[in-house]
Amino acid sequence: MGRINQIYGCLVSLLQKCIFRILSVGPIPNHIAFIMDGNRRYSKRLNSMEGDGHKAGFSALKAMLKYCYEFGVRYVTVYAFSIDNFKRNPEQVQSLMDLMLEKIEGVLKDESVFNRYGIRIIFSGNLGLLSEPVRSTAERAMLATAKNTTAIFSVCVAYTSTNEILHAVQKSCEEKWDEIAASDSSDQDEMHHRIKLTDIEKHMYMAAAPDPDIIIRTSGETRLSNFLLWQSANCYLYSPSALWPEIGFRQFLWGILNFQRIHFYLDKKRKQL
């Protein structure tokens, strides 16, 4: 039985490689973002504990990351925890934080995997809202993988787009104030010290990654829920009906094929900006 499973696994892997080879004739997205929606509904459907849904969700995340990096997608971003999620039941929040801590510590223990594939991890968001153990572990993971340049895995935690924009505006104001304070007192020309769009963009939490090409939100929901609103102007929004723990190769393939269908149009729009 084990032998049959092994052969089956090899055949599936070969088929996937063949499909990726065919797909790579067309444009390959540089950056894919995921909104991992549906973990709790998945638990309810299976009549299991809520934590089981999130654990199954983590397995789905690993599978998606594997497909993305094997296909050649350089940047992957996930919406792991929104600032709005702090409004949940404190036990649920704690359970999610514990799961996150466990997984980040797993990364630190096994950092050779990330270093072997050259994947840099970045935690984007208002990290000051996280508890000290989670924040310091996240910072250690970022430091441990900082030298990797092949691919970037961004985890948006304690994140909302409006908070990101506000933070970028605040940093721009502080930077301009420092410029004004340091400038010659006779040089009070306002135009020199106005905040420009480029000033705001460089202070975004997601400044290390280009704008996403595809945002995939599972569970069939069609809203962005305060995720990458600034960066998604010319991004294909894809909403498969599968719950996040159920997402698989089929949905990934369909998202890529649809992206390739409209890539020429979106690329044209991007160049117009």
Binding site: N85, T162, V169, W177, L197, T222
Partner: protein, 255 residues
């Protein structure tokens, strides 16, 4: 030597043939997908016809009151089809939605705003309403025209308003690292620069792709986004279906 050369030639030709086969396969896959979408288009066309005739019962009664503010994003190349835009607005108002925001990236619709407003009795520009939060009480139709300059560029202008406030407050430089502005202050600053419209409940995209084309980011936090296809192929029945789908959605807002 000769054998090594032959082996290299063989590998070269296998590689070439392989590339041609992969390329053909890619085109074949996309041709099949094109046919699938073409078939789906015909099915949606039939469905739209049935909805328009009132033959599909579930679409007969819409809870339109759930939609306080509707946004319509139109691809700029199609935004010059003013007659289609007016027809679409007539459908929307006939269904009972009176507060609408029209967006196109390049501001083509802004240039036609007077012409569009003339086609509707008692329609006023959103910017002319006195208080945004009095919007729901307005009995007449309000139309807002928005473009890319009301998005990211407006945030930059609002940032300068906040910068002036920051400098004038005297707190500048003394509390680096702390939060000095709130989201409400940002919203107020956006209103000050003329880009402070309400958040739409639903955003309909008329264009080739499901993509919001730069609609002001600050305003679409929890907005449902639905893709309607190109404006030239717009159908009344599909509009009703999109509104019906929205009325069936339940949001947790992160909870």
């Amino acid at each position: 030597m000769d054998f090594a050369r032959q082996k290299r030639m063989l590998c070269f030709w296998i590689d070439k043939i392989g590339n041609v086969l992969f390329r053909l396969s890619w085109h074949l896959v996309h041709a099949i997908i094109y046919l699938c979408y073409f078939t789906m288009g015909m099915v949606y066309g039939l469905e739209s016809h049935l909805i328009s005739r009132g033959l599909l019962r579930k679409y007969k009664y819409l809870h339109i009151s759930k939609i306080n503010y509707l946004a319509i994003v139109i691809e700029s190349e199609e935004a010059c089809r003013t007659s289609n835009v007016i027809q679409l607005l007539q459908w929307v108002t006939a269904l009972g939605i009176n507060h609408i925001c029209l967006y196109d990236n390049e501001g083509i619709l802004k240039k036609s705003k007077d012409f569009i407003l003339d086609k509707f009795d008692r329609a006023i520009l959103f910017q002319d309403t006195h208080e945004n939060n009095m919007l729901l009480d307005q009995p007449c139709m309000t139309l807002e025209f928005v473009s890319f300059s009301d998005g990211k560029e407006a945030v930059a202008r609002a940032a300068n308003v906040l910068l002036m406030k920051y400098i004038k407050s005297g707190a500048a430089g003394s509390n680096q690292g702390e939060q000095i502005f709130t989201e409400s202050e940002m919203s107020e600053a956006l209103k000050t620069v003329g880009s402070g419209g309400p958040e739409p409940d639903l955003l309909l995209i008329y264009g080739p792709a499901r993509c919001h084309l730069g609609f002001p980011a600050w305003r679409i936090r929890y907005t449902e986004i639905q893709h309607m296809g190109p404006l030239k192929s717009m159908k009344y029945g599909l509009l009703v279906k999109a509104l019906y789908r929205y009325t069936m959605v339940r949001q947790n807002y992160g909870k």
